[in-house]
C-alpha cells in the first residue's frame, strides 16, 4: 500500500482557494499541507500547488508581487529539480510572472470577471495534471477570473505551440474550438500551459472546485488524481 502523497498548498496574503485546494486534495486521497508565503520551507512535500485568489489584491499586475515571496525561491529550486508544481488561476499568473511558465495573463477580452463552468480539452499527457489522460478528452471545470486572457508574443506563441506546451484549451462540449467557447479571449483558446520539461503546469480553470458531485461537475477529479500519482511516482 503506497503512502498518501503530500501536496503543499501555498498561502500568500490574499490567497483564497487555498483551503479549497487542500480539501480537494484530501477528497482525492492525498494530504494537503499548508505552506506559508514567508517561510523558506516546503516541508518535504511531493508536489506544490499555488492556489487561486487575489494575492496582494492583484494590485499592479496579477501575481507580480507574490512572485517575490520567500517561498517562491524554494518553489523554483523544487521545480528545477523536477518537482511537480501546479499553478491554478492566480497561481498560474504567479508562475508566469516568475517566468517558470511562458506567456502572460491579461484582462479578459470582455473586460469583466467571469465565473462559469466551462469545458476544456486535454492537449497533452505530458504534465502533472494530465499524465493519465488522453489528449482530446473533454473535462468540465469552473473558471472564475478577471484576468485570464493568455497572451504571448508571436514568436513565443509559435514556440509554445511548436513544442507542444499547451496542456488545456477552452472548447465546446464536443471538443471543438470556437470563439464562443473561448471564455476570455485567450490566444489559441489556451487555458493551461506547461514548461519545457513538463513538471510545471498552470491553468486558469479550477480543478479543486470540481471534485465534489454535491456542488457541481467533477472534471477536476481526473486532473487531481493525475497529480497525486505523478507526485508519488517521483518519490
Amino acid at each position: 500500500m503506497s503512502r498518501r502523497p503530500r501536496i503543499g498548498v501555498v498561502t500568500f496574503p490574499g490567497s483564497l482557494d487555498d483551503r479549497d485546494a487542500r480539501r480537494a486534495v484530501a477528497a482525492m486521497g492525498g494530504e494537503g499541507v499548508p505552506l506559508w508565503h514567508s517561510h523558506s520551507d516546503l516541508q518535504g512535500v511531493d508536489a506544490v500547488i499555488l492556489p487561486g485568489g487575489f494575492s496582494y489584491g492583484d494590485y499592479l499586475r496579477t501575481g507580480a508581487i507574490a512572485r517575490f515571496a520567500p517561498i517562491m525561491e524554494e518553489v523554483r529550486t523544487f521545480a528545477d529539480a523536477g518537482g511537480p508544481v501546479v499553478g491554478i488561476c492566480n497561481g498560474f499568473q504567479i508562475l508566469c510572472e516568475a517566468q517558470l511558465l511562458p506567456g502572460a495573463l491579461i484582462r479578459n477580452r470582455q473586460l469583466r470577471f467571469v465565473c462559469r463552468f466551462v469545458d476544456v480539452r486535454v492537449e497533452t499527457s505530458l504534465s502533472p495534471l494530465t499524465e493519465g489522460l488522453v489528449p482530446g478528452e473533454v473535462l468540465t471545470v469552473p473558471v472564475k477570473h478577471g484576468e485570464g486572457q493568455f497572451v504571448a508574443g508571436a514568436e513565443e506563441l509559435d514556440r509554445i505551440e511548436g513544442e507542444g506546451l499547451v496542456v488545456f484549451r477552452y472548447c465546446a462540449p464536443d471538443g471543438s474550438f470556437d470563439d464562443e467557447h473561448n471564455v476570455n479571449g485567450s490566444l489559441d483558446s489556451i487555458a493551461g500551459v506547461r514548461n519545457e520539461v513538463g513538471n510545471v503546469v498552470g491553468l486558469m480553470p479550477h480543478p479543486e472546485h470540481a471534485v465534489d458531485p454535491d456542488v457541481g461537475p467533477t472534471g477536476g477529479q481526473p486532473m487531481l488524481a493525475s497529480l497525486l500519482s505523478y507526485a508519488l511516482a517521483r518519490v
Binding site: 483564497l16 483551503r19 479549497d20 487561486g52 487575489f54 470577471f113 465565473c115 454535491d214 457541481g216
Partner: protein
C-alpha cells in the same frame, strides 16, 4: 464647512438637538464634540425617525441568539453553530461613484459580520436601477456590479444571490443593498454579553486614517441627492479589498485564539461610533489618544480623525496581558495595530490630542441617547385613486404570444446572468445552489446541513400599498427558501425610503413596518436586525417604499434540496396554490398595459404557511422533481423558467373560465409550479390536500417546445434567447436612447 450658518447646523444638527447636547454636557459643546454628535445623531447612525416603529417588530424566537441592537443578528442552527447575518445599504455613495460606492458597501457589511466573530461565507446583493435605456443608468449598473464583484471576489466571500429591479424612480436614486452571512461556533460569538474589564485596551487594527469619507455615509445617507451634489462629494471612499481580506483573517484568528474581550467595526461615523459604542456597551468609560492613531495625512484635523470613514479598520478590546499575542497576530497578517485608549471607570468618553483633552462626553449620550422623533405621517394623496385604477379587467390588445415574449423580455424578469457571472459564487466550496435558483444553498463545512438564503423587495406592490408590499416581500423570501426544501428561520432587512421629513414617506414607512411585523409574526421568522436607508429621493422623484427582506432558512440535508428546473421529460406538472384575478402591480400590467396601478395582490398568511409545509415535506419525502415559486410574470414565467433552466419543454392545459392573461400573468401570492414523477403524483396530491393547498395538474414535461394550451407555443431555445439576451442587448446599445438625449 460653509461658514454662513451656525456650526451645529452645518453638521446636520437642529437647534433643538444642540439644546439637548447643552443639557447633557451642562455647558457649550466644543467644535469637536459637535462633530461627534453630528455624525452619531445623524439619521443614518441614530435611527431617530425610525426607532419608534422598529420597536414594534417581532424579534424573538426559539432560534434567536442575538437580536437587533448589535453589529448583526445571530441564529442558532444546532450543533453548536451560529449563523450571523445582516443587510445594509450603500445607495448614496454608489449614486455618485458606483464602483467604489458598491465596493465599500460590501466591505462594510462584511466587517459587521466579522465583528461578531463569524467567518463570512456568503454575500447577496439586492439592487435597483433606472431603465437601462438611459446611459447614466447603464453606467451606474455596470459600475455597481463591477464594484460588488471587485470587492467580494477579492476577499474570497462568494456572492451567491441577490436581485435586480429596474424602475424609473431609481434613475436618480439607485438602491444598493448588500447582505452578508457568516458562521461561527456559538461559543466564539463576540457579543455585548462578553465580560470587559477596567484597564482593558482599545486597539485599532488595520488601515491608517485618512481624509476620505469625512462624514461620508452618515452625511450622504442623511440628506437627499441634490443637497449633496457640490459640497459632500469628496466623501466617497476607496475600498482596499486586499486589506479587508487580511483584516478578516487576523480578526478571526484573534477570536479563535480567544484573545479579545470585544470587537467592533469602524463604519459610518468612524472612530467616534466605534469608540462610543464599545464604551457604552462595556458600561464603563474610556480615554482615547488621537496622537496614536496612524494617519495617512499628517495634517488631519481632530474632528476629521474622529469622523473619518476610512475603510478596513476594526477596534478590539484587549486585556493588557493579551496585547503581545494580539500584536503578533496582526503582524503575521501584515496589519498595523495601535493601542489608542483604554477602558476606565465612569461613563465618559475622553479624547486627547497633544496631551490635551479635546472632547469629553458621556459615551451613552452619543451611542444610545440620540434624539427620537415621532414625525408626522400621512397617507399620500392619490393613493386611493391609484388603487381604483385596477388593470385586471382592462381590454388587452396584445396577443398571448406577444404578451408572453414581452413579459419574458422585461429586464425585471429576464435572466440576471450578466450580473452574477461577474461574481465568484464558488469560492469556499460550499455553494450547493448558487445564483439562478430561488434561494442560494450554502452548505456548512463538514456537515449535511445547509443554509438557504434569499433577498426580496417588492417595490411595485409597495408603491400601491406599502403594508402589502412589505408583507409580500417577507412571504416571497420565505417561499423562495421553502421551494428548495428549507425551513425559513429568521430575517434581516433593509428599509429603503424617501425623505422621512415628508409625512407621506413616514406613513409609507409606518405601513411597511406594520406589514413586515405581521408577516414575520405569522410566518414565525423573527427580525434579527437590519438597516434603514432614508432620503432616497431627489427633486420630486422619490423611490417606491421598498423594504428588502433577507431570509435565512435551513435545510437539514442538502442532498434533499429541490431545484427550479424541470429535470427531464415525462414529469407531471402542477400548480400549487390558487390564482386570483389580481393584475394590480404586476409585470404584465407594467410592460404590456403600460400601467403601474391597481390593487396589490392579497396575502393570506395561512395559505402561505400551508404552501411552505407542502414544499418542505414534499422535499423531505422526495416527492418533488422540481419546484419554483410564482412571482413576477406569474404562472407563465414560472413555467418558462422551469423549462429554460431544465432545458426541456412542456405542454399544459389552462382553465377556460378565466381570461388567459389572468391565468398566465396574475401575481397572486402563495403559489408554486412543481413537477413530479408519475409514481409520486398521487402522494403529492394527497400531501397538498392534507394541508388544504389547492393543487392543479397542468400537464407534463417533454419535447423542445413550451405549449401553452391552444393559446400559443414557443421553443425552449427561442424563449431562452429572449430570456438570456435582454440585459446583454440593452447594455450593448440595442434599445438605447439616442446619444445626448
Amino acid at each position: 464647512m460653509p461658514s454662513d450658518q451656525p456650526l451645529h447646523r452645518a453638521l446636520g444638527l437642529t437647534d433643538e438637538e444642540l439644546e439637548a447636547i447643552r443639557t447633557t454636557l451642562g455647558r457649550e459643546p466644543n467644535p469637536n464634540e459637535l462633530a461627534m454628535y453630528g455624525v452619531m445623531w445623524s439619521e443614518h447612525c441614530s435611527y431617530k425617525s425610525s426607532k419608534i416603529y422598529l420597536r414594534t417588530l417581532p424579534t424573538e424566537g426559539r432560534h434567536v441568539l442575538v437580536g437587533p441592537g448589535q453589529d448583526a443578528g445571530a441564529i442558532d442552527i444546532g450543533d453548536g453553530l451560529a449563523v450571523v447575518f445582516k443587510m445594509e445599504s450603500h445607495s448614496h455613495p454608489s449614486a455618485i461613484e458606483p464602483y467604489q460606492g458598491a465596493a465599500t458597501g460590501v466591505g462594510g457589511i462584511v466587517r459587521d459580520i466579522v465583528a461578531m466573530g463569524a467567518r463570512p461565507i456568503a454575500l447577496l446583493d439586492p439592487l435597483m436601477f433606472g431603465p437601462l435605456t438611459e446611459e447614466r443608468n447603464r453606467w451606474l449598473f455596470e459600475g455597481v456590479v463591477a464594484g460588488i464583484g471587485g470587492y467580494g471576489n477579492c476577499i474570497g466571500v462568494p456572492t451567491v444571490g441577490g436581485e435586480v429591479h429596474f424602475a424609473e424612480p431609481h434613475s436618480t436614486n439607485p438602491v444598493i443593498n448588500v447582505m452578508c452571512v457568516g458562521v461561527a461556533s456559538a461559543d466564539d460569538l463576540v457579543t455585548a454579553a462578553r465580560e470587559v474589564h477596567e484597564g482593558s485596551l482599545m486597539v485599532l487594527i488595520g488601515a491608517a486614517t485618512g481624509r476620505d469619507g469625512i462624514g461620508g455615509v452618515s452625511v450622504l445617507a442623511s440628506r437627499t441627492i441634490e443637497e449633496d451634489a457640490a459640497e459632500t462629494r469628496p466623501s466617497v471612499q476607496i475600498g482596499d479589498p486586499f486589506a479587508e481580506k487580511l483584516l478578516i483573517e487576523a480578526c478571526l484568528e484573534l477570536v479563535r485564539r480567544d484573545l479579545l474581550e470585544g470587537l467592533q467595526d469602524l463604519g459610518g461615523a468612524g472612530l467616534t461610533c466605534a469608540a462610543s459604542e464599545s464604551t457604552a456597551r462595556s458600561r464603563m468609560g474610556s480615554e482615547i489618544d488621537l496622537d496614536v492613531v496612524p494617519l495617512r495625512a499628517p495634517d488631519l484635523e481632530i474632528w476629521e480623525i474622529l469622523t473619518s470613514e476610512s475603510q478596513e479598520r476594526m477596534l478590539a478590546i484587549v486585556s493588557p496581558d493579551r496585547l503581545a499575542d494580539v500584536r503578533e497576530v496582526c503582524t503575521k497578517w501584515g496589519l498595523a495595530s495601535s493601542v489608542i485608549g483604554k477602558l476606565v471607570a465612569g461613563g465618559g468618553l475622553a479624547v486627547r490630542k497633544g496631551g490635551e483633552v479635546v472632547a469629553q462626553v458621556p459615551a451613552r449620550s452619543l451611542a444610545d441617547e440620540g434624539p427620537i422623533y415621532e414625525r408626522p405621517a400621512r397617507q399620500p394623496r392619490g393613493l386611493d385613486e391609484l388603487e381604483q385604477d385596477d388593470p385586471t379587467f382592462s381590454t388587452v390588445k396584445a396577443s398571448p404570444l406577444d404578451s408572453f415574449l414581452t413579459v419574458l423580455a422585461s429586464p425585471n424578469v429576464a435572466s440576471k446572468r450578466w450580473v452574477w457571472e461577474q461574481y465568484d459564487f464558488l469560492v469556499q466550496g460550499g455553494t450547493v445552489a448558487g445564483p439562478g435558483a430561488d434561494a442560494a444553498i450554502v452548505r456548512i463545512e463538514g456537515a449535511l446541513k445547509a443554509l438557504a438564503l434569499s433577498t426580496d423587495g417588492k417595490g411595485r406592490f409597495g408603491h400601491l400599498n406599502p403594508y402589502l408590499g412589505a408583507a409580500h416581500a417577507v412571504a416571497e423570501a420565505a417561499r423562495n427558501v421553502a421551494v428548495m426544501g428549507a425551513t425559513p428561520l429568521a430575517i434581516t432587512n433593509c428599509m429603503n425610503f424617501g425623505n422621512p421629513e415628508r409625512p407621506e414617506v413616514m406613513w409609507q414607512f409606518a405601513e411597511s413596518v406594520r406589514g413586515m411585523a405581521d408577516a414575520c409574526s405569522a410566518l414565525e421568522t423573527p427580525v434579527t436586525g437590519g438597516n434603514v436607508s432614508f432620503y432616497n429621493e431627489s427633486g420630486d422623484s422619490s423611490i417606491w417604499p421598498t423594504p428588502v427582506i433577507g431570509m435565512l432558512g435551513l435545510i437539514e440535508d442538502h442532498r434533499l434540496l429541490v431545484r427550479p428546473g424541470f429535470t427531464g421529460p415525462g414529469l407531471v406538472v402542477y400548480l400549487l396554490g390558487e390564482t386570483f384575478p389580481e393584475l394590480g402591480g404586476s409585470e404584465f400590467a407594467e410592460v404590456v398595459l403600460g400601467k403601474v396601478a391597481g390593487r396589490a395582490p392579497a396575502l393570506d398568511f395561512d395559505s402561505e404557511r400551508a404552501l411552505h409545509r407542502v414544499l418542505i415535506e414534499g422535499s423531505r419525502k422526495d416527492l418533488l422533481a422540481s419546484a419554483h415559486d410564482c412571482s413576477e410574470g406569474g404562472l407563465a414565467v414560472a413555467l418558462a423558467e422551469s423549462a429554460i433552466t431544465g432545458n426541456v419543454g412542456f405542454a399544459v392545459a389552462l382553465p377556460g373560465d378565466v381570461p388567459w392573461y389572468v391565468t398566465l400573468f396574475a401575481e397572486s401570492a402563495s403559489r408554486a409550479v412543481v413537477s413530479t414523477t408519475l409514481e409520486a403524483a398521487a402522494a403529492l396530491e394527497a400531501l397538498a390536500e392534507e394541508h388544504h393547498v389547492p393543487v392543479f395538474p397542468l400537464g407534463e414535461t417533454g419535447g423542445p417546445r413550451m405549449v401553452f394550451d391552444s393559446l400559443f407555443e414557443v421553443t425552449v431555445e427561442e424563449a431562452r434567447a429572449v430570456y438570456e439576451g435582454t440585459i446583454p442587448k440593452l447594455l450593448a446599445g440595442e434599445g438605447r436612447s439616442a446619444p445626448g438625449s
